[in-house]
């Protein structure tokens, strides 16, 4: 079974080698694809030196367009499974097999790594947890599924979802929105407890002062995507 690990990275030259080493240690059987979101540092060169494939976006698209490029690649190359794995070192490769197991058993279409189901690890700040809880409730109200860590960027999906995401994927802050889009089309979503690390270098794509803006925008995006016509099938 072919599995593609999609690694979105924007200016992660300092983190990316560690991420690849982690993957090679805990999940050597997968293919890796770094999607370089128009980094201004040495990310692409570092990745290629390590012998890993690198998609280089000529224009910065943000995390949504970046991850979707990875899904497009997975779709083109007929991968059976795809795993989203952040290029900043937050995610731990040792959990990838746990994420893939429900998909391989045919029990789920998408597995989300949740740091709130696992004890320990980096649990994010109290404010962020509050925001995540709010979004999680909102998604539950809108489509009836329960996902505790809706902003988690660590996810595994099967062939059907690769097809769907390569054609329809939310931009800007895509995790909660794409989860909702998948759930509304009847995708079976499970959560797997994972531990996460705090990022080592650089900054998160969501800056501290932007939390309120983030919540407002994601809420609006969720409501809008709930109201819009359903395009595409899973």
């Amino acid at each position: 079974m072919k599995t593609l690990i999609i690694i979105p990275a924007c200016n992660e030259a300092k983190n990316i080698a560690g991420v690849i080493a982690d993957l090679r240690r805990f999940y050597p059987e997968g293919d890796y694809l770094v999607v370089n979101d128009c980094s201004t540092d040495e990310t692409a060169a570092t990745v290629r030196q390590l012998g890993v494939k690198c998609l280089s976006l000529p224009v910065n698209l943000g995390i949504g367009g970046c991850v979707q490029a990875g899904y497009r690649y997975a779709q083109e190359q007929h991968y059976e499974y795809a795993v989203q794995f952040d290029g900043d070192g937050q995610h731990k490769a040792q959990y990838i097999r746990d994420l893939l197991r429900p998909l391989e058993d045919g029990e789920a279409d998408m597995a989300v790594g949740s740091r709130f189901l696992a004890d320990g690890g980096f649990q994010s700040t109290a404010m962020r947890r509050l925001g995540i809880k709010f979004l999680s409730r909102l998604i539950h109200v809108l489509c009836g599924i329960r996902v505790s860590d809706v902003t988690s960027g660590m996810r595994a999906v099967n062939r059907k979802m690769i097809q769907f995401f390569s054609a329809h994927y939310a931009q800007d802050y895509p995790e909660p929105e794409s989860t909702l889009a998948a759930a509304r089309r009847g995708a079976r979503i499970v959560e797997i407890p994972v531990q996460m690390r705090e990022r080592q270098y650089g900054e998160s794509s969501i800056k501290p002062g932007h939390a309120a803006y983030y919540i407002a925008k994601v809420t609006l995006a969720l409501l809008m995507s709930n109201a819009e016509k359903e395009e595409g099938e899973i």
Partner: protein, 134 residues
Amino acid sequence: MNRALQLFLLLAITLYFFALVHFSRRKRVEPKYMLLWIISGVMMIALTLFPALLNRVSRFLGIYDPTNALFAIVLFCVIIILMALTAILSHHNADIIRLVQENALLEQRIRELENKAETDEAMKSAEKGERNAV
């Protein structure tokens, strides 16, 4: 509406249409977007030439001064056009995202082909070298 304002508006609208013709001749604006502007221009002409129309609208809406009704209508037109522009912009944004992704995928494919061609060539020349040695 007094004569002075009416004349001024007519002059302004004439200029407006000149600008439209100018843009369309230079192909700066696509016909489908031009339509929006032409429709609102025609509306403005109608209201300026037939103030009675404006009076009726303002009476119906309870606006005391017909000129204010004119401004309200113009504002309405502008808002419609702006919303249409936002929609067009969003559509273009989606197109750009798609193109950027496609570009990256193609670049990666070329890179792989180049690598393959290089290794093929290296193998060929190595074979040749062996044969020559034999």
